[in-house]
Symmetry: C2
Subunit: 436 residues, 2 copies
């Protein structure tokens, strides 16, 4: 056993196999390994709050300081300056319809379509989505037949995605980065480009494995496809987006488009697509680039007909998070060479300039923190995150995550790299990693 | 109270208000009115099996005799002869893909798209639905990369709606008639036009009211929209279609298109659209004719991207069942005048020829059977369905639904019409309906 599933028994009794992972002192205090314990009664246990401690240490800027907004606006400017046009085909209009009478019994859809077509120059056809038709009768009557419609106008075809009595309701886009461990999202106004909400959370799939390989293995078990999809969708993205909608003061059906950047495994698990061929030789994903999915396909909280764009993968282990990041970094528009580094749970590098780019990937976080490192842990309270060894006294000096006085609990990735570097620098180990 | 909610107490006790609807004899036998009884313990009651008795008397032809198939084929011929082209844009093809290797790591979607485009002359673009992408990895590998694809080909754009290892899987259309009381469906092969399954059942909404007005009132109550939609969709159409799929030996995702004919209220309730404006002056439906709905919008059992066509309504009380029936009757193609009669729970008439047509509608079934007729009942066992009065002896002769020896229980619509006609014919009542 690895000793990581320690819990403290608060009430009741369990039958536990003895283990060297629990000291006599801790055993007396009620600590047991979950994996080696069988409840002998109803029990109340305390689970060490690693997850939320980790959460509380996540460094995610919010929109309150203005710093994040400034960065985002600067990026938009830079991308435009690089020659990329940022635009969308979303439109909205306020319509005042005549109320039906016994002499004017036109159905609601026709009444709306006629007014909608008149509201847009060059509009030759109006399509109404099911979402719009379903709410139309109530919306028109509650708003006394003065409503706002919004949707797309493409080649003269207006597709009405929503109708509302709230005449100034905005049209919103949603961008989400799904990391193996952390998920971040923003909402922005599709007309003005303004950021209106931001939120982060852990990836709900974490309990099915810390890295992509373990997630794929879990997905391959019976019911696994749905379990992994629910974990990222229902347990992570739905509440995350709900928080953002509330913060922006909008209803979810005002989200008219969403884009998701994530590694290849993450976007396969999100779609409920079998990722096992990504894991097994010859390592074939179902898709690199695929369009054609809308919110109702997934049950994502948004307008049911909002397209969900998946940033394209370019390899089984170099996914849309890297292509999106590389795009936004603008290294493809520079003469000088740049190195784009994404060190998350998976680590990817992109190197190049306007002439060429190359990329590679490997496991990063859990390879150090969770794998075969006996004291490995995430960079949360108690983690040794930096180490210095005094060249003369050989005394180590530790930097520990947490408040002053926090005692070391384990060692996280950066701590491990530091230890190895310092052991080498002080000639305790050789360049081959052997003790000299 | 109306006396229609009689139940027989088998176990337990209820507190009941006395009522003239229950005779002393019946009371002693345990009969009570549900609406006037309060359980004083757990009780077991017997509900008179009106619904299934009715069901067992429904006269619906199946496909076993060949008669139904012959009628259907004749109709297809007649419609073609009238100059209506019957065709569809569905296509299918069997593809043999090369299996991926370490030297050929193209993702599954690209592999399929390339082969699909090559399989159809003039195909310039291939779109894959989410349904296809989601099952692609497993389907390809289980079928050793030899699969059948099927979908639509329109203006060079192939939309792949399904991929399967079953190389001869048919493409199926589903046609459904939703009556206020009875629902009937057929499956047919979209390539050959052949009927492959047929089934009928009661409309699950019946417990929310026998006629459209009572259904609309029920829909207006809190949660009513979903309750009425679930009753027709989940409780009626889903099991009905499942039965047909089983009988035809297909999976539901092979249903590539569905069409529904029904009265205006029924199609509004099916879509979960507020039908209350249909009931209230000035009687405005949400739609007459609307396209843009697919199976996944409703949760209908079919390929998620199968379009569901609703036969167009032409009035708040003349719906798609009448336009569809009028179309199929071909009375619009004749010189002589015809009268198209649909006497269901609602009754509609269409009169005309190739020059003009007019229509009208009124309540039919329940107006006689369930409304204010004290002995009214449906045309099930025990219903007086025909009456003759001997002109000389004035003795009535009753025809009763059911096996020989069945005693009369009540009177159904045709019986009531007969009684009135016979009372008039024998001069017992005047042409104004007054007793003379």
């Amino acid at each position: 056993s690895c000793g990581k599933c320690r819990v403290k028994i608060l009430e009741g009794t369990v039958e536990s196999t003895p283990t060297h992972h629990i000291s006599e002192e801790d055993y007396a205090a009620g600590w047991r390994l979950s994996c080696a314990s069988k409840p002998a009664s109803d029990v109340v246990v305390q689970v060490p709050d690693i997850a939320s401690a980790y959460q509380s240490r996540m460094k995610t800027a919010d929109l309150s300081t203005g710093e994040e907004v400034a960065t985002f606006n600067k990026l938009q400017e830079d991308i435009r300056a690089a020659g990329v046009e940022i635009s969308c085909d979303f439109v909205s209009a306020v319509l005042e319809l005549s109320e039906p009478t016994l002499d004017d019994t036109m159905p609601d859809t026709e009444r709306l379509e006629l007014a909608a077509q008149a509201a847009f120059d060059g509009c030759t056809e109006v399509k109404l989505t099911y979402h719009t038709v379903k709410k139309l009768a109530k919306t028109l009557r509650e708003a006394n037949f003065k409503v706002q419609i919004a949707g797309t106008l493409d080649m003269g075809v207006l597709t009405v995605m929503d109708v509302t009595g709230k005449l100034d309701a905005p049209m919103i886009g949603c961008a989400i980065d799904i990391g193996t461990t952390t998920v971040t999202g923003v909402l922005l106004n599709l007309e003005t480009g303004e950021l209106v909400a931001k939120a982060s959370s852990g990836n709900g799939q974490i309990r099915y494995g810390a890295d992509v390989i373990n997630r794929i293995i879990e997905q391959s078990k019976p019911g696994g496809v749905k379990r992994l999809q629910d974990a990222i969708l229902k347990e992570t993205l739905v509440p995350l987006t709900a928080v953002m909608c509330k913060s922006a003061g909008i209803t979810a059906d005002r989200i008219f488009r969403a884009s998701v950047a994530s590694n290849t495994t993450m976007n396969h698990l999100l779609l409920g697509v079998d990722a096992n061929p990504v894991r097994m030789e010859p390592y074939i994903p179902t898709f690199f680039q695929w369009r054609g999915m809308v919110a109702k396909d997934l049950g994502f909280v948004a307008n049911p007909d909002a397209e969900i764009l998946i940033a394209p993968n370019i390899g089984s282990y170099v996914g849309g998070d890297i292509t999106a990041g590389t795009f936004a970094s603008l290294i493809w528009n520079k003469d000088e060479f740049s190195l784009f580094i994404d060190l998350g749970t998976n680590g990817e590098l992109v190197f190049g300039n306007r002439d060429f780019m190359m990329s590679c990937a490997c496991s990063a976080g859990p390879a150090f923190e969770g794998g075969d490192i006996s004291c490995g842990m995430r960079a949360t309270d108690g983690a040794v995150e930096a180490v210095e060894i005094d060249r003369d006294s050989m005394e180590p000096k530790l930097t520990i995550v947490g408040d002053a006085g926090q005692k070391p609990v384990g060692i996280c990735g950066s701590g491990i790299i530091d230890v190895i570097a310092e052991l080498y620098r002080t000639s305790i180990i050789s360049s081959k990693g052997q003790f000299v």
